[in-house]
Structures are given as structure tokens and as C-alpha cells.
């Protein structure tokens, strides 16, 4: 009974060549069957199978490729941006001006772009986070099993809607619908800077307010999907522990599911924020371009990094103007990178459950 097992062991797929070579010798000597003449040869030089070598090469290659790719993108952005940054006649970080039509007199600063981008993304996040939490909890804790799966598909389907469609919907459907509400906010809460009358026509709906709501809908699926997966993995032993103590459904959620899923939920939201920061075409369609700079109102128009770059494609024939946009793209790249890094560190700092 013992011998076949011993004989089989070296051939186990998980064994690496080196281990096998070493391990094979003692087992072979224990076995009643004398070792075949080939056996000592394999123990001399660790034998690597071609399949192992090829697969390792492919896997390592893919890993290296992605790192090189990201590095190359960063490098490209920096190299293309530097000459234009040198020609910039205003402060790149603190100026609200953006005029690149005359390549011999470049005046571009990112302050306005940064503010509009961040405000749109934060508004979207503020709206999407509680809704996504609700959906994820409903799907994992409250929905009947046969309903939860199709419902989750529907939410995932939302992610498959092209962003141009969201843009059109925002501009032609949501914008007009929001108008009475926006007007009411401006009239009654206008004394709060956030709800003050903005620098674009509210009736057209091309405001940060509309864009933020549309982007919220767009990032809802990713936040929901990731949170749902995390909540689903709440250890049964903890859930049962709470139930056995006489916890109601909500108390089970509060004492086990939420503490367990908190980090996952936060990082899911950060992923959503990353998307919101980079959302391009929907925002480009919705936001009306403003003649004056951003004044901290949700009813302002303006441009985000991504929408500004997308709408400026005709200017890219001159490398000096194009460089200005690439510099803006570089800032967006760094911003998204930082947001993702924060998300990672939050997840890494959550050790109680390991």
C-alpha cells in the first residue's frame, strides 16, 4: 500500500524540478524495485521541464510587461509635457487661465481643472457611496436568493452601458428634469456658495450638479460589485455567533458584516473615485464650458482634466499646445495613482480578520 504512493510522489504536478530531483533518490532506494538507470542522472542536474520553463517565462514576461508599460506611459507624459511647461507664461499649478491657441504665447494653469474634476468626482462619490452600500447590503443580506442573482446582473449591466449613452442621457433627459430642483436650490439655498447661481445657464443643465449625478450612476456598479463580494465573504462563524446571541438582521449586519467589509467598501469607493476622476466623454458632453472661472458652485460649468483634453483634440497639431494638455493628463495620472494608492493602504491596514 505504501509503495505506490512513494513511487507516485515525485511525479506530483506541484513539485518543482529541483525538489523532485533531490526527493526522488531516498524514496527510490526505499522502494523494493531497484532504481532505473535514468534515476541517478536526474539527481545530478536538476531537470526543468520545458512546460515549466515556458510558463514561467510567459508569466514573468506579462508581469514585467505591465510594469514597463506603466513606466513608459509615465515617461511619455513627462517627456512630452516638459517642453511646454517650460514655455508656460503663467504658473502651471496655481493659474486658472487656459489659453493654448497661440503656441508662441502659452498660458495654461490647472487650478480650475483640478477643482472642477475633484468637485465632480466627490459629488459623484457622495451620491454613489450610500446607494451602493444599500444595494450591496440588500443583495447579500436581505434579497431572497433567487432574486439576488438577477438583480446583481442588472447592476453589473449598468457598467456595460457606454459612457457616451450616459452623456446623452445626462444632457437630454436628466438635465431638464433637474432644472426645477436646481432652480429651487439656487433660490432658497443660494446663500451657501455651493448652491449659488453659477457661471452657466442652469436651464440647459450643463452643470457640475448634473455631471456629478451622471458620474455617480456610472461608478455605482463598480462600488456595488466590489462591496457585494466583500460582504458575501463575511465569515459564517461570526454571523452565526451574532445570530446565536439574539441579534436581529440589522444587528448582524452592524456587528459582523459592516466591520468585516468596511475596508473593502472604502477601497471599492476609492476605485469608484478613480473612475470618476477619469470619466471623460459623458462629462465632456454634459458640462457647458464657462467663460468665467470656477466659483465653488455646483451650478457652475467648466471642464475636468479629461473633458478638457478630449474636447481639445483639434489643437493637438502643434506639439507645444499638445504638450500643455499632456501636462494636464500627467496631473490626472498622478491624481488617480494617489487615490488608488490610498485605497490599497486602507485595505492593507485592515488586519483584524487575517
Amino acid at each position: 500500500m505504501k509503495d505506490p504512493v512513494v513511487a507516485k510522489r515525485p511525479a506530483r504536478p506541484g513539485d518543482t524540478g529541483a525538489e523532485r530531483g533531490v526527493a526522488a533518490a531516498p524514496h527510490a532506494s526505499e522502494a523494493p524495485i531497484p532504481p532505473t538507470p535514468e534515476a541517478p542522472e536526474t539527481t545530478k542536474a536538476p531537470h526543468v521541464r520545458p512546460g515549466d520553463r515556458i510558463f514561467r517565462g510567459l508569466a514573468t514576461g506579462s508581469g514585467v510587461f505591465i510594469v514597463v508599460l506603466i513606466g513608459a506611459i509615465g515617461l511619455f507624459l513627462i517627456l512630452q509635457a516638459i517642453p511646454s511647461l517650460g514655455l508656460d507664461n503663467v504658473n502651471f499649478l496655481t493659474s486658472r487661465e487656459w489659453n493654448t491657441t497661440d503656441p508662441s504665447n502659452l498660458r495654461f494653469g490647472i487650478l480650475d481643472l483640478t477643482l472642477v474634476t475633484v468637485v465632480v468626482a466627490l459629488l459623484a462619490l457622495l451620491i454613489a457611496m450610500p446607494i451602493a452600500l444599500g444595494i450591496a447590503l440588500f443583495l447579500t443580506q436581505y434579497a431572497p436568493r433567487n432574486l439576488a442573482r438577477p438583480f446583481a446582473y442588472v447592476v453589473d449591466l449598468l457598467a456595460a452601458v457606454p459612457s457616451i449613452v450616459f452623456g446623452l442621457w445626462g444632457l437630454f433627459v436628466l438635465g431638464p428634469v433637474l432644472f426645477p430642483f436646481s432652480e429651487w436650490l439656487i433660490e432658497n439655498l443660494g446663500w451657501i456658495p455651493l448652491f449659488a447661481k453659477g457661471n452657466v445657464n442652469v436651464q440647459l443643465g450643463g452643470t457640475i450638479f448634473t455631471a456629478g449625478i451622471v458620474v455617480a450612476v456610472m461608478i455605482l456598479p463598480i462600488i456595488t460589485a466590489v462591496s457585494r463580494e466583500v460582504f458575501e465573504r463575511t465569515p459564517t462563524m461570526h454571523v452565526e455567533g451574532a445570530i446565536a446571541l439574539g441579534a436581529t438582521k440589522w444587528e448582524v449586519v452592524r456587528t459582523t458584516v459592516l466591520p468585516f467589509g468596511k475596508a473593502g467598501y472604502v477601497s471599492a469607493s476609492m476605485l469608484g473615485l478613480g473612475r470618476a476622476l477619469g470619466e471623460t466623454i459623458a462629462v465632456a458632453i454634459i458640462l457647458s464650458t464657462a467663460t468665467s472661472s470656477f466659483g465653488w458652485s455646483l451650478f457652475d460649468g467648466g471642464s475636468t482634466f479629461a473633458s478638457k483634453i478630449a474636447l481639445a483634440a483639434p489643437e493637438f497639431n502643434d506639439p507645444r499646445s499638445a504638450g500643455a494638455y499632456i501636462a494636464a493628463g500627467l496631473v490626472l495620472f498622478v491624481l488617480t495613482f494617489v487615490v488608488n494608492a490610498i485605497a490599497r493602504s486602507i485595505v492593507a491596514g485592515h488586519k483584524e480578520y487575517e
Partner: protein, 258 residues
């Protein structure tokens, strides 16, 4: 507290699967009743039906009665949440809430029942931890997370959590199966202590353990795969282990099968 349990014609189902058939059994107060039997015989399922945990599994169903001092816990007017607040449970693997401190873990059940008075909570925490023989080991780190304790300490923490609400009955589902022999001994000693105040039902795979800690032993068996589990016999532990009434019991405890 320390009430008696009477199980009457209990049939348990998982969906269409008939898991346990016609169990009738009396659990006297301030007494330890052990459930033994081979894997899959339904002893844990019966235990979980005693505090209405069985029905938490999707499709699970219960027929029959479980009387707690004469009152059916399956009566339509009874809230399962209330049942679980008066019948405590300790699980196979220690499951303190990892994000809560040791103190918060102990008083978690009390908090759920709406007790907010901090002085009262601290008192209960100390009393329960002393009751679970854990106080001396953790009194200096009550604010540290419960997950930082050893497995045996965690299990005693779970026992402290269960007894903090002063339950009528304490159910234990193989409480020592994930523990080393020294921690097991500590838990067994604790069970003997707790018996003075609580009605205890314990499921165990370890027959020596059943013999050491219990006053009464119930042997469960199943006739074959796919067949429902059955209660073969229940009697004083001494009698079961020295002179069982059924051949199957004798075969099982003497190690001839299972």
C-alpha cells in the same frame, strides 16, 4: 435561569432532506447532557434546533416541539431572536468578534438587549470572565481585540459571552474540537463549574469527554447514507458507558465502528 428542555417528536429537514427523525428527549436543569454519535448523524442539527439556529440555513425546517420549562419555543407567537437571547450557544471554532475588544465581546449580547449602563456592563464583563475562568488572564487587556487571544482563551471568551446574558440553557457544539489538550481540560473543568448554575447540552466527538463531563448521554446514529439520523438511546452517562441498552451504542463506544 437553568430551565429544563423537553424535546418532543422532533423532525428536522434541510429542504427535502430528512436530517433527523423523531427525537424525543428530556434535558434536566443544572445538568450536562452529551450528544454523541458518528459524523452526519444529526446531533449538531438537533443541538442547533434547540435555540432555533437550525432554521437560519436556507430551506431548513422543523417539525415537533421543544419545550423550555413547558413553553414551546416553536410556538407561532415566539420570536426566534428572543429564544436565542435566553438559550446561549458556543460553537466548534471560537468566534469572538474580531473588531471588538475583549470587554465588548463579553457584553455584546447585553448590548443587543439594550443595556447601556456602563457600570453594569463592566460588572457583567468581570463576572462573566471570572465565570469563564478567564479574568486573571485578560483583566489587564480588556480593551485589546479578542482576536489576539489563544484559541483556548478565545473559546473561554465565547463562553463568557454566552453566559453574560445569564441564559436558561447553554448549548455547546463540539467546543473543544479546535483546541489542544490543555485548553480542552480548562474548558471541561469550566463545564463542571457551570453546571452548578446552568443547564448544558454539549455535542462531542470525544467519548472520553462525554464520559468525563456529562451526567446524561444521548447516542445518535444513522442507518445509512441518505437516511435520517435517529436517537438510539439516552441514559445516565455511567450506564451508557458501562452497560448500554442497545447493541449499536455498545459498538460505537467500544470503537467497533464510527
Amino acid at each position: 435561569m437553568a430551565k429544563r428542555l423537553d424535546i418532543k417528536d422532533l423532525n428536522l429537514f434541510y429542504g427535502k432532506f430528512h436530517a433527523v427523525e423523531n427525537v424525543s428527549l428530556a434535558v434536566p436543569p443544572k445538568n450536562v447532557t452529551a450528544f454523541i454519535g458518528p459524523s452526519g448523524c444529526g446531533k449538531s442539527t438537533v443541538l442547533r434546533s434547540l435555540n432555533r439556529m437550525h432554521e437560519v440555513a436556507p430551506g431548513a425546517r422543523v417539525e415537533g416541539k421543544v419545550l423550555l420549562d413547558g413553553e414551546d419555543i416553536y410556538a407561532s407567537t415566539v420570536d426566534p431572536v428572543e429564544v436565542r437571547r435566553t438559550i446561549g450557544m458556543v460553537f466548534q471554532r471560537p468566534n469572538p468578534f474580531p473588531t471588538m475588544s475583549i470587554r465588548d465581546n463579553v457584553v455584546a449580547g447585553l448590548r443587543l438587549s439594550g443595556v447601556k449602563d456602563k457600570k453594569k456592563l463592566d460588572e457583567v464583563a468581570e463576572r462573566s470572565l471570572r465565570g469563564a475562568n478567564l479574568w486573571n488572564e485578560v483583566k489587564d487587556r480588556l480593551d485589546k481585540p479578542g482576536g489576539g487571544l489563544s484559541g483556548g482563551q478565545q473559546q473561554r471568551l465565547c463562553i463568557a459571552r454566552a453566559i453574560a446574558v445569564q441564559p436558561d440553557v447553554l448549548l455547546m457544539d463540539e467546543p473543544c474540537s479546535a483546541l489542544d489538550p490543555i485548553s480542552t481540560l480548562a474548558i471541561e473543568d469550566l463545564i463542571t463549574e457551570l453546571k452548578k448554575e446552568y443547564t448544558i447540552v454539549i455535542v462531542t466527538h470525544n467519548m472520553q469527554q462525554a464520559a468525563r463531563v456529562s451526567d446524561q448521554t444521548a447516542f445518535f446514529n444513522l442507518l445509512g447514507v441518505g437516511q435520517p439520523g435517529q436517537l438510539i438511546e439516552v441514559d445516565d452517562t455511567e450506564k451508557i458507558f458501562s452497560n448500554p441498552g442497545q447493541k449499536a451504542t455498545e459498538d460505537y463506544i467500544s470503537g467497533r465502528f464510527g
